[in-house]
C-alpha cells in the first residue's frame, strides 16, 4: 500500500505524517504520532472515548479516515490544558472525582470543552444531552455532569 502524505495542525503545532488510506485518524494519532491521550473504546462510534475536534467540530476520531486530516486543525485531550496549567474542566473533574478508571475521561473533557465553547452556561439537561455520545462505565455520570456544570462560566 502506498502511503499518503498529510499536513495538519495538532494542538496548535504543525504536523506531517504518512498514512495508509485505510487507517483511521484515531489509529494514526495513537500508534504513529504518540497522542495516546485519545482512547480507543469501541472503535465503532458508540463510546466517544476517541473524541477530538476537527476544525472546532467535535467528532469520533475512530470513524474519520486519517487522510481527512489534511489541512485541518485537530485538538486532542493533550491540547485541553493551557500554558498555565489545567483547564477549569480538568480541575473540576479532579475536585468532583469525575473519573475512576479514566478511560472515558479524555473524551469527556474534549466533548465538554466543545459544549462549553458553544454554550457557556448549559443547564443540567443540556449537559446530559450533549454528553450523550460519551460512555462511562464507572462513575454513573452524576459527578461528571456536576464537574461540567461547576466549570461552566469559568471559561473566559
Amino acid at each position: 500500500m502506498s502511503k499518503i502524505h498529510i499536513s495538519c495542525t495538532i494542538n496548535g503545532e504543525p504536523q506531517e505524517f504518512l498514512c495508509e488510506a485505510r487507517q483511521s485518524l484515531l489509529e494514526v494519532l495513537r500508534e504513529d504520532l504518540g497522542f495516546t491521550g485519545t482512547k480507543e473504546g469501541c472503535n465503532d462510534g458508540n463510546c466517544g472515548a476517541c473524541s477530538i475536534t476537527l476544525d472546532g467540530v467535535l467528532v469520533d476520531s475512530c470513524l474519520v479516515l486519517a487522510v481527512e486530516a489534511e489541512g485541518k486543525q485537530i485538538v486532542t485531550v493533550e491540547g485541553v490544558a493551557g500554558p498555565d496549567g489545567l483547564h477549569p474542566l480538568q480541575q473540576k473533574f479532579l475536585e468532583h472525582a469525575g473519573l475512576q478508571c479514566g478511560i472515558c475521561t479524555p473524551g469527556f473533557l474534549v466533548a465538554s470543552k466543545a459544549l462549553l465553547e458553544a454554550n457557556p452556561n448549559p443547564t443540567e439537561h443540556e449537559v446530559r444531552h450533549w454528553l450523550a455520545g460519551n460512555l462511562c462505565r464507572c462513575t454513573g455520570y452524576d459527578k461528571i455532569v456536576r464537574a461540567v456544570l461547576d466549570a461552566a462560566g469559568q471559561e473566559n
Binding site: R22, G48, V59, C62, L65, V67, L131, A132, G133
Partner: protein
C-alpha cells in the same frame, strides 16, 4: 480496516465513472461505511470520497428547501427553516445517534445507510443479504426485526430522516453517467422481494445530489417520534413521522410513515384515510389501529405492534394539541 483504493473525484462526472463498475462506494460522513470497512461487512474495493464537491453542501431556500446530501444531522436539526417549517425533519435529525456522530453523519448517508440486523453486521452469518442462502432472523433472535413487509429478509430500514422526509413529500435529485433525474423519496426504497441486495433504487453509477422539500404550507403540522431502548443513543425500535394538512381542527390530507418496522420506510395511507375529513382529536384511535393492521410479527417482536400503535397515537395527540403551532 480492509485495504481499499481511495479516490477523490473533482466533479459529478468523475463520481459516476468511479462508481460505474459497481466496485466503488461513496464515502460521506463515514459513520456507517467506516464501520463496515473495519468489520468487513460487504466492503467495497474502492472508496469514493465526495467531500471536495462544493455543490453537495448546504441548505438553500427556493420555493421549498433544497438540502445538499453532505449536510450534517447537526446542520439539519439546527436550521431555522427546517425547525419552523419542517419540524418532523428537525426532530428526526436530532434523534440520530450522538452529538459527535451528528456532526459527521450526512443526510445522503442517512438515507443510504445499510441495515443494522445483527446477523448482517456479523461475519459469522453469511445471510441472504450478503449473498448467502438463509435469513437467520426467521428462526433466530428477531426482537428488532420487521413486522411489516418482511420476507425473504426481515431487516428494518434504520434511517430516522427517511420517514420524516417522505411524510414531508421530499424528492431526490440523483446524478449518474447519463445526467440527472428526480425521484420522489417515497419511490426510492425497495424491499427484499424486489431486490435482496440493495435497499434503494440507485443505479450503481448514481448518487444523491440534492434532497428537495416542497414549499411548506401554513396549514401543515408535522412531527416525528422515535422509541428507543436507550435514550442516550439508539436506533429506532419504532418511529412515526406524521405530516398533516389541516383545515382548522379537521384533517384535509397528509402522510404517515413508520420507521424501524419494515425493510423500507413504511407508509400507512390507511391511517391517513381514517383521519381525512374528520376532527383530528376524534379520529386518533381509528388511525392508530389502521396503521398496524396487517402487521405480521415474528416470534420475538410482537411488542412492536402495540408500541407502534401507541407511538402513533401519541404523535397524533401532540399534533391535535397544536404542539406544532407552538414552535
Amino acid at each position: 480496516m480492509v485495504p481499499f483504493d481511495l479516490v477523490s473525484p473533482r466533479n459529478l462526472r468523475d463520481v459516476a465513472e468511479s462508481l460505474a463498475d459497481g466496485r466503488g462506494e461513496i464515502l460521506a460522513g463515514g459513520t456507517d461505511l467506516l464501520d463496515r470497512l473495519k468489520e468487513r461487512i460487504d466492503p467495497p474495493a474502492r472508496v469514493v470520497n465526495i467531500k471536495s464537491l462544493k455543490e453537495l453542501y448546504g441548505i438553500t431556500e427556493d420555493s421549498g428547501l433544497s438540502l445538499g446530501p453532505l449536510t450534517t444531522m447537526t446542520e439539519v436539526a439546527g436550521n431555522d427553516r427546517v425547525r419552523h417549517q419542517y419540524p418532523a425533519l428537525a426532530e428526526a435529525a436530532l434523534s440520530v445517534a450522538t452529538p459527535q456522530l451528528r456532526n459527521m453523519a450526512t443526510l445522503g448517508g442517512n438515507l443510504c445507510q445499510r441495515p443494522r440486523c445483527w446477523y448482517f453486521r456479523s461475519n459469522d452469518y453469511p445471510c441472504l443479504k450478503k449473498g448467502g442462502s438463509v435469513c437467520y432472523a426467521v428462526t433466530g433472535r428477531n426482537k428488532y426485526h420487521a413486522i411489516f413487509g418482511g420476507g425473504p429478509s426481515y431487516i428494518v430500514h434504520p434511517s430516522d430522516t427517511a420517514p420524516a422526509l417522505i411524510a414531508l413529500g421530499a424528492q431526490l435529485e440523483i446524478h449518474g453517467a447519463t445526467g440527472k433525474r428526480m425521484l420522489p423519496l417515497h419511490d426510492f426504497f425497495q424491499g427484499p422481494r424486489e431486490n435482496l441486495l440493495h435497499e434503494n433504487r440507485l443505479q450503481r453509477d448514481e448518487l444523491i445530489t440534492r434532497v428537495q422539500l416542497p414549499p411548506a404550507k401554513e396549514s401543515t403540522r408535522s412531527t416525528f417520534l422515535k422509541f428507543r431502548e436507550k435514550q442516550s443513543l439508539d436506533f429506532a425500535i419504532s418511529s412515526v413521522a406524521v405530516a398533516l394538512d389541516m383545515d382548522g381542527d379537521t384533517v384535509r390530507d397528509g402522510r404517515i410513515v413508520l420507521g424501524g418496522v419494515a425493510p423500507v420506510p413504511w407508509s400507512v395511507p390507511a391511517a391517513v384515510q381514517q383521519l381525512q375529513g374528520r376532527r383530528l382529536g376524534s379520529a386518533i384511535d381509528d388511525a392508530a389501529e389502521a396503521a398496524v393492521e396487517g402487521a405480521r410479527p415474528l416470534d420475538e417482536n410482537g411488542f412492536k405492534v402495540t408500541l407502534t400503535r401507541n407511538l402513533l397515537r401519541r404523535a397524533l395527540q401532540q399534533l391535535a394539541q397544536g404542539k406544532a403551532d407552538a414552535r
